[in-house]
C-alpha cells in the first residue's frame, strides 16, 4: 500500500497492518503533531491575515481534490471544474437565502449544513450531466466538452438566469448572520478556518478511502488503459460517471464552503481562469497523489501571496504596479506551470517522496 520504505525491523503480520494508514509509531506521532498544528497552534498564534491565507489554501485544496480525482486517478481531463464549484456555491446560497426552512431547523442552525450536502449532491449530478460525453469521447475532446461545461454553466446559466432569481441583479449578498452552523455564526476568519480544516480532513479521508476501494482501483485501471480496463470487466462508463459525480460532489462542498468566506457571491468568482488554476495546482503538486494536491495548493497560494507582499512595498513608488499586479500574477502562474512541466514533471509530491526515502534509507540508500 505504502510507497515509502519501512524502517528496519518493522514487519507486518496481517493485512490490517499492511492496509493501515499510519503504519509506524513515528508516522502516528507525526500525524498527531500535524493535527495539533492545525487545530491548536495555527488558530492560537496566527493573525487574521494568515488565517485568511489558510482559508484560501483550504478552498484551493477542496476545489483541486475533485480535479485530482478526475485527472490524476481516472484520467479524465477536465478544464471546467470551476463550473461545479459555482453550482455548489449557488445552490447553497439559494437554499440558505430563499428556501422556506421549518422554524426549528433555522433555530438549530442546520440550514447551512444541510445546504452544503444538498449543494454537493446537486453539483455532483450537474457534473455527471457534463460527464456524459466521456462515455464516447476522451482526451482532447473531453477537454473541449468540459470547457463547454464551464462556459454554459457559469457564463450562461448562472450569469443570465440563476443570478436573476429573487430580483437581485448580478450578485447575491449574504447578510451577516445567515451562515450559521448550530449555535455558531460563521463570521470571523477563525471560525471559517475551523470549518475549513474539518471539511478538508473529511474530504481527504473520504477520497483516500474511496481510492482504495473497488471503485478507486477501477478508476486507476481506466486511467492506465481504458481498453484493458474494459476487457477486464470494468464497467467503464459507470465508473467514469461515478468519478465525475464524486468530483462534482467535492467541488460542491468547496463552493458551499467558500460562501462562508465572502460577503457577496457573483458568477465572477468562478471564471475559466479558476478551472485552469485548479489544474495547475495539481500539476505543480503532482498528478495522482492526494498529498500532491495539498502541496500544490499550499505552494500556489503562498507563492502568489508572497509575490503580492513583494510587490506591495514597491507600489508606493510605482502606483501602476498595484493595478498591474493581477496581470503579473497571471503571467507568473503561466510561467510556473510551464517551468514545472518542463523541469519537474512529477510535481512536488515526487520530490517529497524522494526526500522521505532519502531519510528512511539513510545512510545506505543503495
Amino acid at each position: 500500500m505504502s510507497t515509502t520504505f519501512l524502517p528496519c525491523s518493522v514487519y507486518h503480520e496481517d493485512y490490517t497492518q499492511d492496509h493501515a494508514w499510519w503504519q509506524t509509531k513515528f508516522i502516528r506521532g507525526k500525524m498527531i503533531l500535524l493535527l495539533l498544528l492545525l487545530f491548536v497552534v495555527i488558530p492560537k498564534f496566527a493573525d487574521s491575515y494568515v488565517l485568511s491565507v489558510c482559508n484560501q489554501i483550504g478552498y484551493t485544496i477542496l476545489g483541486a481534490l475533485g480535479v485530482q480525482l478526475l485527472i490524476g486517478y481516472c484520467g479524465q481531463l477536465t478544464l471546467g471544474h470551476a463550473a461545479f464549484l459555482a453550482v455548489g456555491a449557488y445552490t447553497s446560497t439559494l437554499l440558505v437565502l430563499e428556501f422556506p426552512w421549518p422554524k426549528f431547523l433555522m433555530d438549530w442552525g442546520l440550514a447551512y449544513p444541510i445546504s452544503i450536502i444538498a449543494a454537493a449532491v446537486v453539483s455532483g449530478l450537474w457534473s455527471v450531466l457534463f460527464g456524459l460525453p466521456s462515455a464516447r469521447v476522451k482526451g482532447f475532446y473531453l477537454i473541449l466538452t468540459t470547457m463547454a461545461a464551464q462556459f454554459v454553466t457559469v457564463d450562461f446559466v448562472i450569469a443570465q438566469y440563476v443570478s436573476r432569481i429573487g430580483g437581485r441583479g448580478q450578485a447575491f449578498s449574504l447578510p451577516p448572520g445567515t451562515i450559521k452552523i448550530g449555535p455558531w455564526v460563521i463570521d470571523t476568519n477563525l471560525k471559517v478556518y475551523f470549518m475549513m480544516v474539518v471539511l478538508v480532513i473529511l474530504c481527504v479521508i473520504g477520497l483516500a478511502n474511496l481510492l482504495r476501494s473497488r471503485a478507486g482501483r477501477a478508476w486507476v485501471a481506466i486511467r492506465d488503459n481504458d481498453i484493458s480496463a474494459e476487457v477486464m470487466g470494468i464497467n467503464i462508463i459507470k465508473h467514469k460517471l461515478l468519478a465525475f459525480f464524486v468530483a462534482g460532489f467535492i467541488g460542491g462542498i468547496a463552493g458551499a464552503f467558500w460562501i462562508s468566506n465572502i460577503a457577496a457571491i457573483s458568477y465572477e468568482h468562478f471564471p475559466w481562469f479558476w478551472s485552469l488554476w485548479l489544474v495547475g495546482v495539481i500539476l505543480i503538486g503532482g498528478v495522482g497523489s492526494i498529498h500532491g494536491t495539498i502541496f500544490g495548493a499550499i505552494f500556489m497560494v503562498v507563492v502568489m501571496e508572497g509575490l503580492q507582499l513583494a510587490v506591495m512595498p514597491l507600489a508606493d513608488t510605482y502606483p501602476k504596479l498595484l493595478m498591474d499586479f493581477l496581470f503579473i500574477k497571471e503571467a507568473a502562474f503561466g510561467l510556473a506551470i510551464c517551468a514545472f512541466l518542463i523541469f519537474e514533471p512529477n510535481g512536488l509530491a515526487y520530490r517529497w517522496w524522494q526526500i522521505k526515502n532519502y531519510f528512511n534509507l539513510w545512510p545506505f540508500s543503495y
Binding site: 460525453p133 475532446y141 473541449l144 454554459v152 481498453i227 496581470f327 503561466g334 518542463i342 514533471p345
Partner: protein, 294 residues
C-alpha cells in the same frame, strides 16, 4: 428573409477569419501533435502588435507585415523555448504547457497594452456599407473576409507547392518516414508554430478592426476549438469549412435564439453545438479515425 441573408453573409465573413486562425491551429496539431489552447492569446499578440504599429502612423498593410514578421520570430522562439522540450510527453503536459503559455502571453499583453478597448484610428476600412442587391454588408467584414481568403490561399499554396510546405506535409503524414528522408522535424515544428502565430496575428488584427480590440478578442480566438473539432482535428479543408460554419452558426444563434434565451447565446452557442456534434461524430467531418489498440 433579409435578416436571414444578412446574418448568413456576416457569419460567412467572420467565419473566414476564424478559418484563418483555425488553419494555424490545425497546422500545429498536424505537424507536431500539440493541442494548442493558447490560440486566443496568439491572436491577441498579433492584433496588438499591428495596432501599435498602425497607431504610430505606419500604413495598415505595412503594420500587418511587421506583425507577421514579429509573429514569425515569436512563434519560433516559443517553439524553441517551451514546446521543444516536451516532445513525446503525455498529452496533458503538452496541453497544460500551452495553457501556461496562454496565461503568460495574456499577462504580458495586459501589462503592456492594458485592458481598455482600443480601436484602429483612423479606421482602416471605410465605414459606409456596400449594397449588393438586397444585402447590406459592412466594408470591414467584406475586406476582412477578402484578406482572410487571400491569406488562406497563400498558406495552402505554400503547403502544396513549396519545398518547406511539402516537408511539413510529409512530417504530418508520417514522421518516421519524413525523418529518414532527411526532413528536419525540429525545423518543421518551428515553422508550424511560426505560421500559426502569423495566421492568428492576421486573424486577430481583422477581428480587432470589426469591434475594437480588447482582451475579449482572445476569447474569439478560442472559438477555433469548436471549428477544428467540427472539421476534424487534422484536416486543413476541415478547418476552413469548420471556421465558416462556426461563424455562421454563431451569428444565426445571435439573431434567432437571443429572443428565447436572452443574454450570451452568441458566445455559448458554438460550444453547445460542438458538444452535441461530438456526441454523434467524434472525429469531425474529415478527421482521421484512429483505431485504438491495447
Amino acid at each position: 428573409m433579409d435578416v436571414f441573408l444578412m446574418t448568413l453573409t456576416t457569419g460567412i465573413m467572420v467565419g473566414g477569419i476564424y478559418a484563418l486562425i483555425a488553419l494555424g491551429w490545425v497546422l500545429i496539431y498536424k505537424c507536431s501533435g500539440v493541442l494548442n489552447l493558447a490560440m486566443g492569446e496568439l491572436t491577441l499578440i498579433g492584433a496588438y502588435v499591428s495596432l501599435s504599429f498602425y497607431s504610430m502612423g505606419i500604413p495598415f498593410v505595412l503594420s500587418l507585415l511587421f506583425s507577421l514578421i514579429i509573429g514569425f520570430v515569436l512563434g519560433i522562439l516559443t517553439e524553441r523555448i517551451f514546446l521543444d522540450r516536451l516532445i513525446g510527453k503525455p498529452i496533458l503536459s503538452v496541453i497544460m504547457v500551452t495553457v501556461g503559455l496562454s496565461f503568460f502571453f495574456k499577462g504580458i499583453v495586459e501589462l503592456i497594452w492594458g485592458t481598455d478597448t482600443r480601436v484602429f484610428t483612423p479606421a482602416v476600412f471605410p465605414l459606409e456599407p456596400i449594397r449588393i442587391g438586397p444585402l447590406v454588408i459592412g466594408q470591414v467584414y467584406l475586406w476582412s473576409f477578402v484578406a482572410a481568403i487571400v491569406l488562406l490561399v497563400i498558406f495552402v499554396g505554400f503547403f502544396q507547392y513549396t519545398r518547406w510546405g511539402l516537408a511539413m506535409q510529409a512530417t504530418a503524414d508520417d514522421e518516421m518516414a519524413a525523418l529518414s528522408l532527411g526532413v528536419s522535424a525540429r525545423f518543421v515544428y518551428a515553422t508550424a508554430w511560426a505560421i500559426a502565430f502569423m495566421a492568428a496575428g492576421v486573424g486577430g488584427t481583422l477581428l480587432g478592426n470589426i469591434n475594437g480590440l480588447n482582451i475579449s478578442v482572445g476569447y474569439l480566438g478560442l472559438l477555433v476549438l469548436p471549428a477544428v473539432v467540427l472539421g476534424g482535428l487534422n484536416s486543413v479543408p476541415g478547418a476552413i469549412v469548420g471556421g465558416i460554419i462556426i461563424g455562421v452558426l454563431q451569428n444565426l444563434a445571435g439573431a434567432y435564439l437571443d429572443k428565447y434565451f436572452p443574454g450570451g447565446v452568441k458566445e455559448v452557442a458554438p460550444f453547445v453545438f460542438m458538444v452535441i456534434f461530438l456526441l454523434f461524430k467524434p472525429h469531425g467531418l474529415w478527421g482521421w479515425e484512429r483505431i485504438e489498440r491495447v
